[in-house]
Symmetry: C2
Subunit: 242 residues, 2 copies
C-alpha cells in the first residue's frame, strides 16, 4: 500500500513539453506508449497524474525525471487544459487506469514547457519508459495520446511569444559556441520564418552579450564558419542600465 | 437534482483577478464572504468550482458573470495554483461545502486575469453576492480567503511583465480620452515605480497611435490638462510594418 504522500490524485495531471535543438532542427521529447493487448503503439508527452500531497511544480519535476532521467530542468508552467472531452477516449482511459491502478475520471492537466540543450543526458530506454527526440514538424503526422497535439502546439506558440519579447532565450537551446547559421536556423524554426541572412545577423547582433569569437567551427567539410557565444552576465548588466 | 451539465467538479476551480483603474489608483474586484454562524466576514476573488462538463475558459466566464454581472470580458488564463495546503483551512472548506452542498477535497485552481474599464457595469449587490472595488494596496492588509492573496499578487506580477513587453495594454484600463497624469499614474501603480513627468511623456509618446487631442479636461478646479487618446488601428498597422 502506498503512503498518503504517494497516493495518486486522479483529477489533475501535468504534461511537459521539452524542446531541444540539434543545430538544424527543433526537436520535441516524446514518450513511446505501447498497449500490448491491442498491438498498438503511439506517442505522448512526458506527463502523468499528480500525487495528493504534491504541488504542481514539484509534480512536473518528479514526473519528467521519472520518465526521462532529466534533472534540474527549468520548467515553466504555461497553461492548463481542461476540455471535458480530453480524457474521454476509452483507449487513453484504459491505459492510464492499468498504469496507475486507480479509476480515472475527467483530468485537467497543467502544461509545462522547457528549453534544454540537446546534449543533456537523457535515459532514453528503461523499464518504465522509451523516450526519444522527434522533429517538431513530425507532430503534424503524429496523433499523440489525449490532447497532447494541442498542448505541444500551444507550448510552441508560447515560446514564440517569449522569443519575440525576449530573444536572448534562444541561447538556452544552443551549445556554448555556435555558428550564425545555427542561431538563424533556430530562430526561423521557432518563429516559422525564413530570415534574410544579412538582415538577421545585423538585427541579432544588437543583443548585448552576443559576440563573435576568434575561432571557427572544426571538422566541417567546407569553409569553416565563425563561432559566436553569448555572455549572459554582459546581457543582464545591459538590461539593468535601461 | 441537477443535470449532468451542471454537476460540480469538486477538484478544480477558477479564480478571476479583475483590475480596474479610477484615474488615480489601481483597483481589484473582490467578493464579500460572510459566514453568519461565526459572525465572520472577509473577502475573496470572484471564483468557484467548475462544472463537470465545462471547459476552463467557459467556467471563468460563467462564474465571473454570476458573481459580478460582467459580460464579454477578455479573461486570460495566467497560472494554476495547486499547493496541497491551499484548501486545508477548515473555515474555507466548510464555507464551500455549505455553498455547493458537496464534499470538498483538494482543489487546484486555474487563475484568470482581466483588465477592465472601471466604468463597466457591475452588479455590486444581489441575492448571491456583494462585489466591490478595492485599492490594490489594501491587499496588504486583507487576509483573503484560501490562497487568494498569492493569486492576486501573481496576477499583478503577470500584468507587470506584459506591460513591459506590450505597454499598449495600459489603454485597456483608461477611458477613451485621458490625461497624461492618468496614464503615468496607471503605469506607476502597475509597475511600482515613480516616473519622472517629462521623461515619462517623452518615452510613452513613442507608442504609435497615442496622440494629443485639441481638447482639455472639463470640470477641473485647476488649469485644465490636455487630453490624449489611443488609436488601436494606427498602433496595429505600425506593428505590422516592422
Amino acid at each position: 500500500m502506498r503512503n498518503s504522500t504517494n497516493t495518486y490524485n486522479p483529477h489533475v495531471s501535468v504534461d511537459c513539453v521539452v524542446f531541444g535543438f540539434n543545430g538544424e532542427k527543433l526537436k520535441i521529447l516524446l514518450i513511446e506508449r505501447t498497449i500490448e493487448e491491442q498491438n498498438f503503439s503511439d506517442k505522448k508527452l512526458p506527463g502523468s497524474i499528480i500525487f495528493e500531497e504534491e504541488d504542481l511544480d514539484e509534480a512536473a519535476t518528479r514526473i519528467l525525471n521519472e520518465l526521462t532521467g532529466l534533472k534540474n530542468i527549468y520548467l515553466s508552467q504555461f497553461r492548463s487544459f481542461g476540455n471535458p472531452n480530453r480524457t474521454k477516449n476509452i483507449r487513453d482511459r484504459n491505459w492510464l487506469e492499468r498504469l496507475t491502478k486507480i479509476k480515472i475520471g475527467r483530468i485537467v492537466t497543467v502544461g509545462y514547457v522547457a528549453l534544454i540543450k540537446i546534449s543533456r543526458k537523457i535515459i532514453f530506454q528503461s523499464e518504465n519508459t522509451t523516450a526519444n527526440w522527434y522533429d517538431i514538424n513530425s507532430l503534424k503526422s503524429f496523433q499523440l495520446a489525449f490532447d497532447h497535439n494541442e498542448i505541444a502546439d500551444a507550448a510552441l506558440e508560447y515560446i514564440r511569444q517569449k522569443v519575440k519579447s525576449e530573444p536572448s532565450m534562444l541561447f538556452e537551446l544552443l551549445p556554448q559556441k555556435f555558428t550564425m547559421t545555427q542561431l538563424r536556423n533556430l530562430y526561423d524554426t521557432i518563429m516559422g520564418t525564413t530570415s534574410d541572412v544579412r538582415n538577421f545577423k545585423k538585427k541579432i547582433m544588437q543583443i548585448e552579450g552576443l559576440e563573435q569569437l576568434n575561432e571557427v567551427q572544426k571538422d566541417v567539410p567546407y569553409r569553416a564558419p565563425r563561432l559566436y557565444r553569448f555572455d549572459k552576465k554582459i546581457y543582464k548588466k545591459s538590461k539593468k542600465n535601461i
